[in-house]
């Protein structure tokens, strides 16, 4: 268990453009820390800087409370799973797994024992004698995982370790990695661009975009209170619906396309006056109008696309220039071209400043269910 601390870290490959800038974050001992962001935002670069494979061009990295800017990779006490696995093609799976142990002059018998243990855990026992080229992509990925786990380093870095697995195996490996991490108390820094992985695995997640931190926090807080429109649309599937909005001083609130009213309190109105704004609502907060629905924005929309995903129905419609989506649970008989009356609960809206991206109005009334309150035994 070790702490990893990045203080105002930046990185530039060509001494001109920073691909990573002003990263300030502390990863606590034993924490499962997930780094997410779109392709090319600098996730691998950041991981490689922590591993010591890439020079840091600005700032300080501290590992276990000690300054590590110029520490060589092997002195940092960590293991790493590379994005492209980096398996040794000329060695067998077993030799690949024990490579690091062999470097550290661990006894041969102990090496074999630990390799078998990890192989068992990851379902690789049948492949120990094979060469990497005789394995499928997913099996290779598991060998890469095994190599990191077997080293029992206090810090583990993983660069998209599950990207090549099928959905079922991926779900299984998610819980498996999480279990191993908890059991060994490893500090995990985990890179992914899959938001489901980020939401389900991370104690905390950090969202990176163009080399800058967008938001750091608990998955659920990030989902509920995205710090800016980028985070709002990046996390959540389908993404949050966002449209430009206009403040109307007299009506104490703002209007989207002159039809959808979002009420705001005085403070919020003051913060938003004379600025261009963006308002957003999550697809699951757009509800069908049935008898007894509470008040809010009731509008009629024309459906442009429908997807039924077994237990939920997602359909799109046009709001001004933007296409919005709504997600209803259950299977709904909706066809393209239908006129559907919908309810946009005004309390659920997020409002952002368009220029700074700052969140001006947090959504309210998010239902938080708890077993103690809801279930009657």
């Amino acid at each position: 268990m070790k702490k990893v601390e990045l203080i105002d870290v930046s990185k530039s490959y060509d001494k001109q453009v920073d691909v990573i800038s002003n990263i300030d974050v502390t990863i606590e001992p034993g924490e499962f820390f997930v780094l997410v962001g779109p392709s090319g935002c600098g996730k691998s670069t950041m991981l490689r800087m922590i591993a010591g494979l890439e020079e840091i061009t600005g700032g300080i990295i501290e590992i276990g409370g000690k300054r590590a800017n110029h520490l060589s990779p092997d002195k940092r006490d960590l293991s790493m799973v590379f994005q492209n696995y980096a398996l040794y093609p000329h060695l067998t799976v077993q030799q690949n797994i024990t490579f690091g142990l062999d470097v550290k002059k661990v006894k041969k018998a102990v090496q074999a024992e630990r390799a078998n243990e990890v192989a068992e855990m990851l379902g690789l026992s049948d492949f120990l004698k094979r060469k990497p080229r005789e394995l499928s992509g997913g099996q290779r990925q598991r060998v890469a995982l095994a190599r990191a786990i077997v080293s029992e380093a206090p810090i583990c870095l993983m660069d998209e370790p599950l990207s090549n697995l099928d959905a079922k195996l991926r779900a299984h490996m998610r819980t498996e990695i999480r279990r191993i991490q908890r059991k060994l108390g490893i500090t995990m820094i985990y890179v992914t661009h899959d938001q489901v992985e980020a939401m389900t695995m991370g104690d905390r997640i950090m969202i990176l975009h163009e080399g800058k931190i967008q938001q750091v926090g608990k998955p659920i807080d990030i989902y509920n209170y995205p710090a800016n429109p980028f985070v709002a649309t990046f996390i959540g599937s389908p993404p949050m619906n966002i449209s430009p909005a206009r403040a109307v001083p007299t009506k104490s609130g703002i209007f989207i396309e002159d039809t959808i009213h979002v009420p705001m309190n005085e403070e919020q109105v003051a913060a938003s006056s004379a600025r261009s704004l963006l308002a957003g609502i999550r697809p699951e907060h757009i509800k069908p109008i049935v008898t007894g629905t509470e008040s809010g924005n009731r509008i009629q929309v024309e459906v442009t696309n429908v997807e039924i995903l077994g237990n939920e129905t997602v359909f799109s419609f046009q709001v001004g220039q933007r296409e919005w989506m709504a997600k209803w649970s259950g299977q709904w008989d909706i066809a393209i071209g239908d006129q559907v009356p919908i309810l946009l609960g005004s309390e659920y809206f997020c409002v952002f400043d368009e220029e700074t991206g700052e969140l001006i109005r947090k959504p309210e009334g998010l239902e938080h269910l708890s077993i103690a309150k809801e279930v009657i035994i």
């Binding site: 591993a51 010591g52 494979l53 060589s72 990779p73 092997d74 940092r76 960590l78 293991s79 790493m80 590379f82 492209n84 980096a86 040794y88 093609p89 000329h90 060695l91 490579f99 690091g100 470097v103 550290k104 080229r133 190599r147 080293s151």
Partner: protein, 300 residues
Amino acid sequence: MTTVRAPGVWKRSANLRVGFLYLLPSIILFAVFLFYPMIRTIYLSFFLTDQNGNAAVNVGFENYSYLLTSPAFLNSMKATGLFVLYTVPVGIILALFFALLANEKLKGIGFFRTMYSSTMGISVAASSVIWLFLFHPSVGVFNRILLVLDLPQIQWLLDPEWALISIAISTIWMNTGFSFLILLGGLQNIDEHLYESSRIDGAGYFYRLRRITIPMLSPTLFFIITISLINAFQTFGQIDILTKGGPSQSTNLIVYSIYREAFINYQFGTASAQAVILFVIILVVTLLQFKLLERKVHYQ
């Protein structure tokens, strides 16, 4: 009811015939420039010939039995064997060393890469002339250096003890460029991530060299060893220019001996027999190499 008849020979061989058609151009070229001369050489090795190289008297295996008892030919074989031992291991280790150096990511490494591979661009004749000057007993650089260091002078190309070594030195220099380039190419093909992963594990330079670089480079090394061996057996140009086989036959390597036998003594029969023996030796060495070494080679 319809009976299914097996397709005729003509139908079944359709693939074969098409394949043969594709091979035809190479077969013709090989036949004219390779198979015919080879068969002709084997044929001539059983004959005594006239001045023009036409077969005159069939002597059976007499050319061979003569050669295998001739002290001159045995000396040639020994010189060739020594020459191969002098040049191949040293040449390859040197080229590997330079390639490892030039594979480091340093500023201006391109300059060194060009320098190390530059000998590839110089013809054997031109570089031999350069070495002729370097080896010159009185004005050559080597003897000047020895003089400055107060060491005894060496008659590089004139002393039978030193002549073969001198030729070996110049040959190593000439061949390093090619081996270097091939090995550097092989090194650059190794995935950088493998080294990064091993660095995280804490592997030192020589551990990485032993467990990653050499195994990953083994196909390239195998290739370059084969080529170097064959090249060493066939050395000719630098001998012709530097020593002409002398002094006292000490650098009379087989190919040079074949040349003298055929075009100076006009003994095409024995020359052909020597060529056949050389062919067999190279064949055996290469086969042995495949048998012994290839098992250790890791192909991707």
